[in-house]
Amino acid sequence: MDRKTLTSLLILAAIFVGVQLNRTGGRAANRDTPPIVLLPAGAIHTPAGQGDAPPACEFTPAPAAQTRPSTAPPALAAPRPVYTTRGALHIAQWLPGNRRLLLARDLPGTNRQAIETLDPFSGQVVSYGERNYTNSPPRWHPGQQAALYLDWAYTGANGRVAYRLLQNTQTLIENLPSPAFALTNRGELLLAAPQNPGDRLAPRPYSDQLLHYGSGEALLTEKKAACRLEVSPQPERGQPDGVLDARWSPAGRFLALITSRSAGSGIVLASELIVFDLQAGTVRRISTLPAIVTDIAWGPQGRWLAVLGVERLSDQGYERGALFLVEAESGAVMRAGPGLALGGGAWGMQLAWSGDGNTLAVGCPTPRRGRVCLIEVGP
């Protein structure tokens, strides 16, 4: 057993500390909780420069891959504010049924957040719990009709913290060291301890493939195999670019990534949208968007990608964004019409496209209020 494998096993063992669930063959199950898959740490993101780097991913065009003819982009109505709060609002996702949004809402004057659902059509809010501040997005589990989210707490000296995974107010697993979690479309909850704290998971729909992304390269894994997505051909200033966000199209054909050029100092100077077409075997860098792209959301057919980009800084110094639509196959970019200024909040949680394709929810905060806007999407 080499040192890397041993390290991985130790990390994996750490995950299990505190797990109070019945386990069967690597899966934890309980009637009141979703099936939990604890991922081996060996499959987790390998930081650049450590150990043997996985090979670059090679995509072979499928024989049946055919380019669909371009169509007119869907029509977008002007943004309409529907919900306003004192604290910042973070949009996680639409719930099934397309009537409710899962949100994290900052509680003003504190370092706490409320996990809530919002019916933006009626204004009804349902609370599911609270946590210390983090930008880890909560996820809705349809089978459990529950919100899953991470919380953290200090455990001792030198800023050490432990995380726990909650389902509503119930703790599922605790004593987790900087975990990542994701839900598959089969309803499984994937849980891992990345070697790079803060790295995330994105399971490919209808597949066993899993994307690990974050502060270094993006790795696509399947069982014990892993390959590296070429997202950073021009690493800057001695540190690899990071992958800020990754979203699979609903059927799993496309993968959209936002990569960052952070100058190594932690201030993102530019970010870029890259769209992989795993069926056609193509990689497309979308270079006609603003220099900073903050949020992405797929339409239900996987044909269009909504993109929030920073068009300018206000005179006061905050970001003012605009909405764009990117055609996945061609990479064509269309700017949505003028309207309310969008964006300006925490990146990655400002945009969600409803499953029926009829509504985009987008953050449209003002300097003093958190705010959600809806944009009706026409045919």
């Binding site: 803060g198 932690g266 903050t294």
Partner: protein
């Protein structure tokens, strides 16, 4: 590659200077009276502040204020309030979390003992050349001073990148981290008694801040010294005093790119000038279709870097005293006129034509015929007949405003030397003193010397090569 390109400087398109070779009598060894410092235009002189007041906000990943505007609170762990934050994808990797270390959203902190310690490493990574980090420290200090000295009608100074990204605990965050609650550290003044216990990255930051200076324009007033990550080939006109567009020929290869607003100092460009290399740090990746890059023909010190990127400025000390002379020049490049721009074979006697790309980095316009270029040869080890000083000069026949630049041809003449040997060759500019003599820029203000281009040269009857490196020595 030494560029033969001619770029537009602040004074317009620059034409090659006409060479007029003439012998002239220098004011050898007579000393030069220091030029009196210009009196302040009025009002009180600027006193560098010891502290600065900053409004602290949660920030986005680009360093902008996050909406809705959320001031940092006592236990805040969002990005912008602490470098040990609880957000992935932001500039706070690692698994430790420390909250915002202050009790209020508006804070007053020590400029040298707190604010700049967090600003300098956030704005420029410590893997760049230490000399570039020194330039960054001066620019960051000047930028902060500008706002402390500005009328209150301006927006309140805050921690966002609209001003300078000030994220508490960034200094402690420098890898490997010293944890903020570590009792072994006196965080009130970490660059003082605890210096030896800091890690190397933190020591670099302290070293960069140690030699106090700030930039001024006109009088003692601090300059709004903007800076950005990189500017390909030329910086961008900032439309304000001191921020004119200047050519940056070292930034056209290797990792050179346009990144950021391009006004004022290019941070990666500063590191290239400090290293004398087209790559901003060892092993920097080649960007796009750039040529791979390599050694550049000159390398600069801190003050040269700042005088290059900021036009018509002065460096000033803690009491506002002027540290730099009025007459200054920077060699942007030396073109040796041979393939690969390698130093030529120097034999005796021989005349070797070279071209020096000269920038006026001072505060005075060079009037036609009043500034010359001088070559001074001195035996490196005077013995026997190898003694004395040997000079020739040319006169620049085109006026040049501060920030402007021009290609100046110069013929190096070993024929005037008494014998082969090892010489120190110094190339400097000189200004006519009005009485038939000339003052070398490096000596025009003895209390504020400037940098000539100096090199050790082997001259032999049999061809030998110049000894490298060609660097501007300390004056």
């Amino acid at each position: 590659m030494i560029g033969r390109r001619v770029l537009a400087g602040a004074g317009g398109l620059l034409l090659p200077a006409v060479l007029i070779l003439l012998w002239f009598g220098m004011a050898r060894g007579q000393g030069v009276a220091a030029r009196p410092e210009a009196p302040l235009p009025g009002g009180d002189p600027f006193t560098p502040p010891l502290s600065i007041t900053v409004e602290m906000y949660r920030l986005t990943a680009s360093g902008a204020q996050r909406l809705p505007l959320t001031m940092c609170s006592a236990d805040d762990t969002a990005f912008g309030c602490t470098a040990f934050c609880s957000e992935s994808g932001y500039g706070c990797p690692g698994d430790a979390i420390f909250p915002y270390p202050y009790l209020t959203g508006t804070i007053t902190v020590g400029v040298e003992t707190d604010y700049l310690l967090d600003v300098v490493p956030r704005e420029m990574g410590p893997w760049y050349d230490p000399v570039a980090l020194e330039a960054q420290a001066v620019a960051a200090r000047s930028f902060a001073f500008y706002y402390t000295a500005s009328p209150p009608t301006l927006l309140p100074y805050n921690n966002s990148a609209s001003f300078q990204a000030f994220i508490p605990r960034t200094f402690e965050r420098q890898f490997p981290e010293n944890y903020p609650n570590d009792e072994d550290f006196q965080w009130d003044d970490p660059c003082g008694a605890q210096y030896e216990q800091l890690n190397s990255a933190q020591q670099l930051v302290c070293d960069a801040l140690r030699e106090f200076a700030y930039l001024s324009y006109g009088d003692q007033s601090p300059l709004r010294a903007q800076f950005s990550a990189d500017a390909y080939g030329q910086t961008v006109d900032g439309s304000t005093a001191g921020l004119e567009a200047v050519p940056d020929p070292i930034s056209t290869a290797c990792d050179a790119d346009n990144l950021g607003h391009g006004r004022g100092m290019s941070q990666e460009g500063a590191s290239r000038w400090a290293r004398g290399n087209e790559c901003s740090y060892p092993g920097a990746p080649v960007v796009g279709d750039n040529p791979p890059g390599g050694a550049w023909s000159v390398a600069w010190q801190r003050d040269q870097i700042l005088a290059h990127y900021y036009t018509g400025i002065h460096l000033r000390g803690p009491d506002g005293e002027q540290l730099t002379p009025d007459y200054r020049w920077n060699p942007l490049a030396v073109d040796w006129g041979v393939p690969g721009n390698q130093p030529p074979v120097f034999s005796y006697p021989l005349s070797i034509p070279i071209t020096i790309w000269v920038q006026n980095t001072g505060t005075t316009t060079w009037l036609t015929g009043t500034v010359g270029m001088v070559q001074v040869w001195k035996p490196a080890n005077p013995t026997g007949t190898l003694t004395g000083t040997f000079r020739t000069a040319i006169t620049l026949t085109r006026w040049m405003t501060p920030g402007g630049s021009a290609q100046v041809p110069l013929t190096l003449t070993t024929g005037m030397l008494p014998a082969p040997g090892v010489y120190t060759l110094t190339i400097d500019l000189a200004v006519a003193d009005g009485s038939g003599g000339w003052l070398l820029f490096s000596q025009a203000e003895p209390a504020r010397p400037w940098f000539p281009l100096s090199m050790v040269v082997g001259v032999d009857a049999a061809p030998v090569r110049l000894y490298l490196p060609l660097v501007g020595h300390d004056p």
